[in-house]
Amino acid sequence: MDYAVEMLDIRKEFPGIVANDDITLRLKRGEIHALLGENGAGKSTLMGILFGMYQADRGMIKVSGKEVRIGNPNVATKLGIGMVHQHFKLVSTFTVTENIILGSETRKGLVLDVKTASKRIEQLSQRYGLNVDPHAKIEDISVGMQQRVEILKMLYRDAEVLILDEPTAVLTPQEILDLGIIMKNLIGEGKSIILITHKLKEIKANAHRCTVIRRGKTIGTVDVASTSELVMAEMMVGRSVTFKVDKKAASPGEIVLQVDSLSVNNNKKCLALNNFSLEVRAGEIVGIAGVDGNGQSELVEAIAGLRKPESGSVRLKGEEITGLSVRSRIHRGIGHIPEDRQKRGLVLDYTIAENMVLEVYHREPHSKRGILNKAAIKQYAERIIASFDVRSGQGASSIVRSLSGGNQQKAIIGREIELNPDLLIAVQPTRGLDVGSIEYIHRRLVEQRDKGKAVLLISLELDEILNLSDRIAVLNQGERIGVVNASETNENEIGMMMAGVTAEGGGEA
C-alpha cells in the first residue's frame, strides 16, 4: 500500500495525563483522512507530533515509507508536511503574498522579490481553485479567505500532506461548501489531507477514511462511505448518542428579561444593534439566529453590562438595569457564558479553583473581610468539577490553560449554572466542541429551562438554535427581522430571515 504518512504506536505523556496511548494512523496518498475524537482525546497532540511541535515518547513515524525523526516544524515542512492551525498565524497588516513568503522569502540580490512570489502564488491559487488575490491585505479579507491563504502557504512550500485543524469552526455554511471543493481539488492533484474535526457531517461529505480516537487510544479506522454518522459518533464517545435534544414543551412563566428598543454601537462607533426589542420568559429558551457580526455580540454585551447602549432599556424581572455595573447585574441574577471562552471567560493562568470563583470570590464563604478562604474556594470548585465532569490533570489546582477546549467550556458553564441565575445567556456554548460535550451542554441548558430559568441562546449554528430554542428571534444587520416559534418553523424559513427576508405571518411580534 502506498502510504504518505504512517504514525505507528505513538505514545505521548504529559504530566498527569497520557495524551496519546499507542495511536496508529496511516494516511494513504491522495486521500482525505479524517481524525475524529472528542476534545481532549489527543487529536491535537498527535498532529503536533507529526508537525514536530512535540516529540513522541515512543513510536515511529514514516513518511513515504521511510522512518523519520521530526524534531521541529521546519523538519516537517522539509518533509512536505504542512499544517493549517485552527487559529491562523497571519500578520494582518501584511499582504497575502508577504504572509505566504514570510520565512522563505525569494530574493533578488539583497532585495525582496515579491513579484516572482506573487506570480507563483497566483498560479497555485488558480491551479487549486482557491481564488485568492495575492495583493490583498489580510485585514481586508474574510476569514474564509484567510484560511485559503494558510492553505496556499503550505502549497507554496510544496507540502504533500496537509493537516487541517478544525478548518470549518470559523467558516460560514457557504465557505464550508467551498472548502470541500478545494479539498477535492487538492487530492485531485495528488495531495493527501488529514482533516481534524468532530463534525460528523463534514466527515461524511468529504473524507474517505476516518480514524477515531478516544481518550488517547485508537478505536479504529473506518471507511466513511460505509459507516453511518451514528456509528462514528458512538465510536468517538464510547456510548450511544442522540442528535435530537430531548425536551418537552416549554411552559413559559413571568417575563425575566425585557429588552426595549435597544440601540448599541460597536467598537467602530457604528450602530450595530438598532432599536431591538425582545422578551425572555422564565422557563423558555429564546434563540437568536443570525450570521456572525449582525449585532449579536453587542446585544449580549449590552445585557451583561459590558457595553453601554446608545438608547433603549434592559429590564431584569421588571427592574431597570440599563445603568448598572456588571457585578450588580451578576448579583441580580444574570449568568453569562461568553462567546470567547479564552478571552472573556477564563483567566487562563489561574487554576480551575480560582476561575470558578471569578464572579463570587468576594462573597462568603469564599472570602471574609477581604481575605480569601482557599479551602472553601477549592471545595466550591471541586463541586463544579464533579457535577460538570471537568477533566484535568490535577483537579481543582490545574492551571486552566492546560485544559482542553471542551473542559474549559464545561468549567465555564458549570460556573455560570452554579450561580443559579434567573437569566442565563449562552453565547455559542458549544463552539468547537465534540458531540459528547455538545449533547451534555444542551441537556444542561434544557435542564435550566425546566427549572424555570430564562435562557437566551445565541449561536451561529442553525441546528443548535432549532434544536434547543422554544422561540427564535432572527437578527440581520442589527435589526430584528422577526420572532418565530421553533415548533412552527424550519431551517429554510430561518435561513431566509437571516438573509434579511421578513417572515410573513410567522410568529408573534
Binding site: G305, R327, L358, I371, L372
Partner: protein, 358 residues
C-alpha cells in the same frame, strides 16, 4: 520552586562568568570572590552594611514585582523612590515631633510620595491606555527636576548647594541599638520596614480578594471585566501600591542609609529593582533573597577592589550577567530539561541493555 532553581542557576552562571572575567584579566577568581564575600560578610559591621545596602533594593524590587504580578511594568521606581524620599525628608526637616511619631509620619509621607508619582501613569493607563513604561520613565525625570529645584529652594544644605540639610536625629531611621549591635554599621530600621513590606506583599498577593482582583486584571483584563471586577480602579490601585513601595525605599535610603538628599541623581536602586524582581521571579521571598544577594555584591566589591587589583566593575559585570541569565530563564529551563531527558534516556538505555544481557 522551579523558578527558584532557575534563579540559582542564573546566579551560578553569573558567578562563573565573573570568574572567567577575573581569570582573563589576569587575577585569581578564588581570591577575588573570597574578598568580595569577605567584604560583605566579614564582620558584624560589614554584615550590617550589606543588609542596609539591600534594604532600598528590597523595596524597589517589591515595587517592580508587585506591578509585574498585576500586569504592569513599573520602570518608574527610581522616580517614585526619589519623590517618596524627598517628601519624607521634607516632613523630617519641617516637623518637630517625638521620634516614633515623626518616623511614622515620614513613612506615610514616603509611601504617599511614591504612590503619587505612580498614580499618574496608572490613571493614564486606565483611562487613555497610555503605556506605563513610557509614562513612568517620564515621571522619573519630573521627579528628578522637581527635587533638583525644590531641595536648593527650600531645604538647602549648610555647606553645599547640591544637597539638602542633614536630617535631625529624631528624623532618621538610625537607632543606636542597631548600630551598636552591628559594630557601628549604618544599618537602620528600614530593614524591619522592608521585612514587613515583604510579608504584607505576600499576604496581599496570595491571600486577599484585592490580590486576586489585581492579578486577574493583570493576567486577563477582558475576563476580569466580564466577571465584574473594576478594571480601571484595579490598574490605578496596582500602581499606587507599587509606587508606595518604591517610595518607602526612598525613606529607607534618604532617611536611613543617608541623612540627606543629593540633587541631580536618579537613585540607581530604582532600576536595580527591575533586576531584583526578575531574579526573584516576582515573588516576595525571592525579591528579599535576591536583594540581599545584590546588596552583598554591592557592599563587597569595595573591599575586593581595595584588597586586590580586580576592578570593581567586575562586580557590576557579574550582576549584569546574572540579570541576563535570569531574563533568559527559558534557556536555562531548556537546558535543565535537556539534561534531565538525557539522563533519563541514558538510564533507560542502560536498563534495556541490562535486560538484553538477562
Amino acid at each position: 520552586m522551579r523558578s527558584g532553581v532557575i534563579s540559582l542557576i542564573a546566579v551560578l552562571f553569573g558567578l562563573l562568568a565573573g570568574a572567567v572575567l577575573m581569570a582573563v584579566t589576569g587575577h585569581s577568581p578564588i581570591t577575588g570572590y573570597m574578598y568580595l564575600f569577605e567584604g560583605g560578610l566579614k564582620s558584624p559591621e560589614r554584615i550590617g552594611d550589606t543588609l542596609a545596602t539591600a534594604t532600598p533594593l528590597i523595596f524597589t524590587g517589591l515595587s517592580v514585582a508587585f506591578a509585574f504580578r498585576t500586569g504592569l511594568f513599573n520602570i518608574g521606581a527610581a522616580g517614585q523612590m526619589l519623590l517618596g524620599g524627598f517628601l519624607a525628608s521634607a516632613v523630617g526637616l519641617s516637623l518637630d515631633l517625638p521620634k516614633p511619631l515623626l518616623l511614622l509620619v515620614m513613612i506615610i509621607a514616603g509611601f504617599v510620595g511614591g504612590a503619587l508619582w505612580a498614580v499618574v501613569p496608572g490613571i493614564l493607563k486606565a483611562k487613555y491606555n497610555v503605556h506605563e513604561v513610557v509614562s513612568t520613565i517620564m515621571m522619573n525625570w519630573i521627579a528628578y527636576w522637581t527635587v533638583y529645584y525644590a531641595v536648593p529652594a527650600y531645604f538647602k544644605g549648610e555647606f553645599l548647594e547640591t544637597e539638602s540639610k542633614l536630617l535631625p536625629e529624631a528624623a532618621t531611621l538610625n537607632v543606636p541599638f542597631l548600630s551598636e549591635m552591628f559594630g557601628g554599621s549604618y544599618i537602620n530600621l528600614g530593614l524591619f520596614l522592608a521585612v514587613i513590606a515583604v510579608i504584607v506583599f505576600a499576604f496581599i498577593i496570595n491571600r486577599t480578594t484585592l490580590g486576586y482582583e489585581l492579578k486577574a486584571v493583570g493576567l486577563n483584563r477582558h475576563s476580569a471585566e466580564y466577571a465584574g471586577i473594576a478594571v480601571n480602579r484595579s490598574i490605578v490601585l496596582s500602581m499606587v501600591i507599587a509606587g508606595g513601595l518604591a517610595g518607602l525605599g526612598g525613606v529607607a535610603q534618604y532617611a536611613g542609609n543617608a541623612a540627606n538628599i543629593q540633587i541631580g541623581i536618579l537613585p540607581s536602586q530604582g532600576f536595580d529593582g527591575i533586576a531584583v524582581a526578575l531574579l526573584g521571579a516576582n515573588t516576595p521571598v525571592g525579591v528579599l533573597l535576591s536583594a540581599l544577594f545584590f546588596g552583598l555584591l554591592y557592599s563587597g566589591r569595595g573591599f575586593m577592589n581595595a584588597m586586590t587589583e580586580i576592578p570593581p566593575e567586575i562586580a557590576n559585570s557579574i550582576i549584569a550577567i546574572i540579570i541576563y541569565f535570569a531574563a533568559t530563564s527559558i534557556l536555562i529551563e531548556r537546558l535543565v530539561r535537556w539534561l534531565i531527558r538525557r539522563r533519563s534516556s541514558g538510564a533507560s538505555a542502560r536498563s534495556s541493555a541490562e535486560r538484553k544481557v538477562d
